[in-house]
């Protein structure tokens, strides 16, 4: 009666027994695999988490948003303003021209921004706040909500009214539980009336909107910043699928206003971006980073594999007499090969499993910390990652265990039995 089950079970059991007999050495041997696998998993976890965070932030903003930045930039590179350079080529009037449906038919709203920071005080309470000069369209474009009071009107913007709408964090910092509506606050030694408080919104595209004080943009430009230009405008269009048409319309409108005749775009003093485009760039950057780091981690698997080969060669030498005996009672070359291959695969499998546990635990801790810090950092255990880690570690065992196993299987039984 033939039974492979008993045979295979005995081979696995025998490998387990030898591993348990040398527990410490087995663990040391697997260290390379443990480090390699956990590194790959942690890197992937961080990559996926960061990507999820960024994509989540940008999506919150809305995928039918376009950004118009002053200064030309390569469509795939960072905008010039990101380097801290002020470029003065965009104006409030440009924004109003983009808002004109005759110029850009798909437009729903446009917000020009002029930003800065200043000390804000009320009855001796002071805080450093970010000022965001924007237009009435802010609510329609960015999707904020007014909690109490109201947002400023177009007329107030035009008339340089000294009115302010507070982000929820600024409100609680200055006013605590007091009702701020109708109160006068000081911004750069000028008195502003608080007319509204925004609903708490949290992080959107890495900006904490709750820490802003919103002012009419004309007030901001003329009374506080003393500038004519705007830092950025955001354009909301009716549908994501009209992105290309809208971008084209915006470019044509601005070129006309700026007297740019060059149709290649090389002379543009502004750039138009879509959120979808930004997502693609971010994803491709983080993906490249992930693959690179995962490749580095894979190198440590290679080093781990060489360690496994070394140890297995030592084991073959130590168990030469045992190999001779097994052959004497009828083990074929393939039986011996299987013995050692199963052992090396099981060693690397143990390393892989420990690596997975460490890697996922660390990834989870990172996610916990990031979430505690207020980031929307997702943590997911991907079955594919686990499968891949298990597969790769077993493959390392197979690959690097093969040579020692073949060496063992080729021992002459007679010489192996005589080995001292």
């Amino acid at each position: 009666m033939s039974s492979y089950y008993h045979y295979l079970r005995e081979i696995v059991r025998n490998a387990l027994l030898t591993m348990l007999e040398n527990k410490r050495r087995t663990l040391l041997t697997t260290l390379g695999i443990v480090i390699g696998v956990s590194a790959v998993i942690i890197i992937n976890g961080i990559g996926a988490g960061a990507q999820g965070l960024i994509v989540g932030q940008v999506k919150k903003l809305g995928s039918n948003l376009l950004g118009v930045l002053p200064g030309k930039s390569e469509s795939n590179g960072p905008p010039a303003t990101a380097m801290g350079i002020s470029i003065t080529t965009l104006t409030y009037e440009d924004a109003m021209a983009v808002k004109d449906k005759r110029n850009v038919p798909n437009v729903i709203g446009v917000v020009p921004y002029s930003r800065g920071s200043a000390t804000v005080s009320w009855r001796g309470v002071q805080t450093e706040a970010s000022l965001s000069g924007c237009s009435v369209d802010y609510i329609a474009v960015e999707g904020g909500e007014v909690e109490t009071g109201r947002f400023f009107s177009e007329i107030e913007d035009r008339d340089l009214a000294r009115v302010a709408v507070l982000g929820s964090a600024v409100k609680s910092e200055i006013f605590g539980d007091n009702d701020p509506i109708g109160q006068n606050i000081k911004i750069k030694n000028q008195t502003f009336e608080v007319i509204g408080v925004m609903t708490e919104r949290g992080q959107v595209a890495f900006q904490n909107y709750d820490e802003y004080v919103f002012l009419p943009i004309n007030t901001m430009q003329h009374l506080i910043a003393g500038v004519r230009y705007i830092g950025l405008m955001r354009v909301k269009i009716d549908d994501e699928k009209n992105t290309e048409a809208a971008i084209n319309d915006i470019i044509l409108t601005l070129r006309e206003r700026h007297d740019i005749t060059d149709k290649t775009g090389a002379s543009d003093d502004f750039s138009v971006r879509s959120a979808a485009q930004a997502l693609d760039i971010i994803t491709s950057i983080t993906d490249a980073l992930r693959y690179f780091l995962a490749g580095m981690a894979a190198l440590s698997l290679l080093v781990g594999g060489i360690g496994i080969m070394n140890i297995m060669l030592i084991r073959v030498a130590q168990r030469t007499r045992e190999i001779g005996l097994r052959k004497a009672v009828g083990a074929t070359n393939n039986d011996i090969k299987l013995h050692f291959l199963v052992e090396s695969i099981m060693i690397t499998l143990v390393g892989g499993v420990i690596g997975i546990i460490i890697g996922e635990t660390v990834s989870w801790l990172i996610a916990i910390v990031a979430q505690y810090l207020g980031y929307d950092w997702p943590f997911t255990i991907l079955p594919l990652t686990i499968l891949l880690a298990v597969g790769v570690s077993m493959a390392v065992g197979l690959l690097f265990g093969l040579y020692p196993a073949v060496k063992a299987s080729k021992l002459s039984p007679m010489e192996a039995l005589r080995y001292e």
Binding site: M1, S2, S3, Y4, Y5, H6, Y7, R9, E10, L17, E21, R321, E322, G324, L325, R326, K327, A328, V329, G330, A331, T332, N333, N334, D335, S412, P413, M414, L417
Partner: protein
């Protein structure tokens, strides 16, 4: 009835067996054309001083090594050119070995050691346990089945080895200096078991350099310098059941 009548064909027949090691200038000849026959039910002692080639002869007969010249017929078949896998199957199915140094597996029980040949034969576990238990009982170790091999005495270890050699019901049992690592009292027990097994019809080939041990066999083949020196029946056979200790 004579042995020849019991089985008209020899179980083992070697003709001009030659074995040399190495190549070219460095060639070392170990066996120079050895010929003899062993029949079913025989108990042969292969004797000779160390370096005579007796161990090499046993390794070739036991399929652990290959001859470089001559012919080897086993159970009537020419087995001279068999490959590694075929040799492994022969060792597994037709041969049982008992070694001087026992060669039991560490960290394994007595029962598991005896089951080992049946594992490689892909036997079902129930069948293997049954067969191994039966042979262990026959060598008086029925009470040691679950002992680990480091928990039993030298004599018991060699009895486990004999049980392992018997478990696949081999055609021949090779015993290579089976009493060499044992005290004289344990040694005589082992010789008695071998003689009993021979009485039950098992063919045994014993390799030893001790004349007193060899005289427990029915026939002694003497090897010297790689050649057959003599092949004679034992004139005054020793019977282990009448002895207390193994004379050395």
């Amino acid at each position: 009835m004579s042995k020849q009548q019991l089985a008209n064909k020899p179980l083992i027949e070697v003709r001009d067996l030659i074995k040399d090691y190495g190549e070219g200038e460095l060639i070392t000849k170990v066996l120079f054309g050895v010929s003899f026959q062993v029949f079913q039910g025989d108990f042969v002692a292969i004797m000779g001083p160390s370096g005579s080639g007796k161990s090499t002869l046993m390794h070739i007969l036991g399929f652990l090594d290959k001859a470089t010249g001559g012919q080897y017929l086993f159970e009537g078949h020419n087995v001279t050119g068999l490959d590694d896998d075929a040799l492994a199957i022969m060792r597994n199915q037709r041969i049982g070995f008992v070694f001087q140094s026992f060669n039991l597996l560490p960290r394994t029980t007595v029962l598991e050691n005896v089951m080992l040949p049946l594992v490689y034969a892909r036997n079902k576990k129930v069948d293997a346990v049954k067969a191994a238990t039966a042979v262990l009982e026959s060598v008086g170790l029925g009470h040691r089945l679950d002992y680990y091999t480091n928990q039993i005495s030298g004599g018991e270890k060699q009895r486990v080895a004999i049980a392992r050699a018997l478990v696949n019901q081999p055609a021949v049992i090779f015993a290579d200096e089976p009493t060499g690592n044992l005290d004289s009292k344990s040694g005589i027990q082992i010789m008695r078991i071998l003689q009993d097994l021979n009485e039950q019809g098992n063919t045994i080939i014993l390799v030893t350099h001790e004349t007193s041990t060899g005289e427990h066999a029915k026939r002694i083949i003497r090897i010297k310098d790689g050649k057959l020196e003599s092949d004679k029946p034992v004139a005054k056979r020793r019977l282990a059941k009448n002895e207390d200790t193994l004379a050395k």
